[in-house]
């Protein structure tokens, strides 16, 4: 009996706890490394003979230089503004289109549905070169507006696709009741369906927010002035000068660029996950 229990515990350790620990360790190690690097003085960072795992004299000099001598705060404000604005634009367009595609019968609706799905899978890397032409032609280059208008290219199809699925879970009868009581279609949509769809809209919004916070290619190509950049582009282009890497400040930038999105995520884990899994399942 005792041997049995011992054996199953051992087995559980080998097939469960150890693999799980290794996975979690591997997933989190780079973040620990950002933190450790950002609080280590240069003398320790660039000494290959001492253990890199131990911080002997922790310092905040890299954090200070990140916030004091770079435009990091400016980039954070830009990123936040772009993420909120492009998410709002995408939710607006996505809610309306998702409602139309899931509820209304009109010519071409199937085709529009397929079109949304196809554009959902068009990666930014396919279009960034001609899109640069479009952005320049509209006079938006080097402004945050160029990002607010182009991020919806990948956010709108995603939001529409996700919300289509969500709207379909809301019983049609609710709307029909409201319509019998004299509500117009628009009123039935805004007063009955949308309030019930808030969890779905929140999921789409959270996911869209993190996607725009993380976007890199468009921001890299459309924006050139240091004070207009977003965090991902600012940190990678302004904190690396030629071949000189200021690793302490760089890792501080990577850490503080990741923290806001991690905080948003931690508040809305459930919504984020249902947005992510809903987005692929449709």
């Amino acid at each position: 009996m005792n041997a049995m229990v011992g054996e199953t515990y051992f087995r559980r350790l080998v097939v469960f706890y150890i693999p799980l620990f290794l996975f979690v360790f591997a997933m989190l190690f780079p973040f620990a490394w950002m933190l450790i690097t950002s609080i280590k003085p240069d003398a320790e960072l660039y000494n290959p003979r001492i253990s890199p795992f131990i911080v002997r004299e922790p310092t905040l000099e890299h954090w200070e230089s990140l916030f004091g001598t770079t435009l990091f705060i400016r980039w954070a404000v830009n990123t936040l503004w772009v993420a909120i604005a492009s998410t709002a634009v995408s939710l607006f367009a996505g809610v309306l289109a998702g409602y139309a595609l899931s509820r209304l019968v009109f010519r071409g609706s199937t085709m529009f549905g397929i079109m949304i799905f196809v554009t959902y899978l068009v990666p930014p890397t396919l279009l960034f070169i001609p899109l640069t032409g479009v952005v320049t032609w509209m006079g938006l280059q080097d402004t945050t507006w160029s990002l607010i208008f182009t991020y919806p290219t990948f956010l709108v199809p995603f939001c529409t696709w996700l919300l289509m699925g969500y709207f379909q879970t809301i019983p049609k009868e609710l709307e029909e009741c409201a319509r019998i009581d004299g509500a117009t279609r628009l009123q039935a949509m805004s007063k009955i369906v949308l309030p019930l769809a808030v969890p779905g809209i929140l999921s789409a919004g959270i996911f869209a927010f993190t996607l725009s916070w993380n976007e890199f290619l468009y921001a890299l190509v459309f924006i050139h002035s240091p004070e207009t950049k977003t965090i991902p582009v600012g940190v990678t282009s302004e904190l690396i000068k030629g071949d000189v890497f200021f690793w302490g400040a760089l890792m501080a930038g990577a850490l503080f660029g990741s923290v806001p999105v991690a905080i948003v995520y931690s508040f809305f884990v459930e919504h984020y996950v249902s947005g992510m899994t809903g987005a692929v399942k449709g």
């Binding site: 973040f31 990678t236 996950v273 899994t277």
Partner: protein, 323 residues
């Protein structure tokens, strides 16, 4: 107040309300914002991109039509052929690792254990933070001189030597460890490693969502039949999770195939253009050298494979009746 003898003309507002009661009208009105964005920022750029790829456009010029000249040039260029091959190789290997390891992690996370929720939440972190920022951390961990991996390898190497009592501390610096990003094949392996690290959580959590929909009594039935853990996985879990798995894999193939950020940060296509992907080569040609026509042509080379994948997915979803 207006007093009118005849039946009042419906006001603009009233006519609008009536029109919007019509499904066909309302449908198009509600689609309009999304369609407008897609037309201006996807459809039009797409057509423009096809046109650019048929011209010799260089930054600042309008370019003249040269037919398939860019494509001819690309097929004669070693860098392009390497990039095309790399993209296929990178996508295939990374997707296999992500699918297998992701499934493993999903099965682990699907068990009941203390802190299960918080573990599931933290495991997703690599997927949610900005990719370029976490990739910067990897760049630092792959550093030629100060790589933490190499330090650990050196430490283990010295330990082993120490155990056998063969070599003393003077040889500490002798073993430098591999140049993760300096050697072409190792550089590609490193890029794949980072891609797997970033994408694995997405696979795991999506698979986990699929696993949680499998009714437990199926496993009970399998237990009664005396099925082992592996048998249960092969004959119960895998068939039931297949629809989710295929959608997740197809989605990941599209994203991995078009990946830009990892190579841009880690190697910039080097050493010696050996790790370029189509996206980074398009960027280097179109933005770096200002050769817009050729850059657009390289980017468009992603289209046939993406189109194939998208059509497969549409066909599959329709067959399965998911949507």
């Amino acid at each position: 107040m207006q007093t009118q003898q005849t039946a009042p003309e419906p006001s603009l507002r009233e006519r609008l309300v009536t029109a919007l009661e019509n499904q066909r009208v309302l449908g198009y009105v509600l689609m309009a914002p999304a369609l407008l964005l897609i037309l201006i920022f996807i459809a039009y750029p797409f057509v423009l991109g096809v046109w650019m790829s048929l011209t010799d456009k260089i930054v600042g010029t309008s370019g003249t039509f040269i037919g398939l000249g860019n494509y001819d040039k690309l097929f004669a260029s070693d860098i392009f052929l390497t990039a095309a091959w790399n993209t296929v190789f990178f996508t295939t290997i990374a997707t296999i690792f992500k699918a297998v390891l992701g499934m493993w992690l999903a099965v682990l996370l699907n068990r009941k254990f203390r802190f299960a929720n918080i573990t599931r939440a933290t495991v997703l972190l690599p997927f949610i933070v900005p990719t370029v920022l976490s990739t910067l951390a990897w760049l630092w961990m792959f550093d030629a001189t100060f790589s933490v991996f190499n330090w650990t390898l050196r430490w283990l190497w010295q330990m082993e030597i120490g155990i056998f009592g063969l070599v003393l501390k003077e040889n500490w610096g002798f073993f430098r460890g591999p140049l993760w990003l300096g050697d072409p094949s190792l550089a590609m392996a490193s890029v794949i490693l980072v891609n797997v690290w970033r994408g694995l959580p997405f696979f795991a959590i999506s698979f986990l969502a699929g696993l949680q929909t499998i009714p437990p009594d199926l496993y009970d039935a399998a237990d009664i039949d005396g099925a082992s853990g592996w048998k249960k996985f092969w004959h119960v879990t895998l068939p039931l999770i297949k629809p989710v798995a295929i959608v997740v894999i197809v989605f990941s193939i599209v994203v991995t195939f078009a990946d830009f950020q990892l190579v841009y940060i880690l190697t910039r296509g080097g050493p010696n253009n050996e790790t370029h992907l189509l996206a980074t080569l398009a960027y280097q040609l179109g933005m770096g050298s200002g050769n817009i026509g050729q850059g657009a042509a390289v980017a468009l080379f992603m289209l046939p494979i993406l189109a194939f994948v998208i059509i497969f997915q549409l066909w599959y979803l329709r067959r399965e009746g998911v949507r």
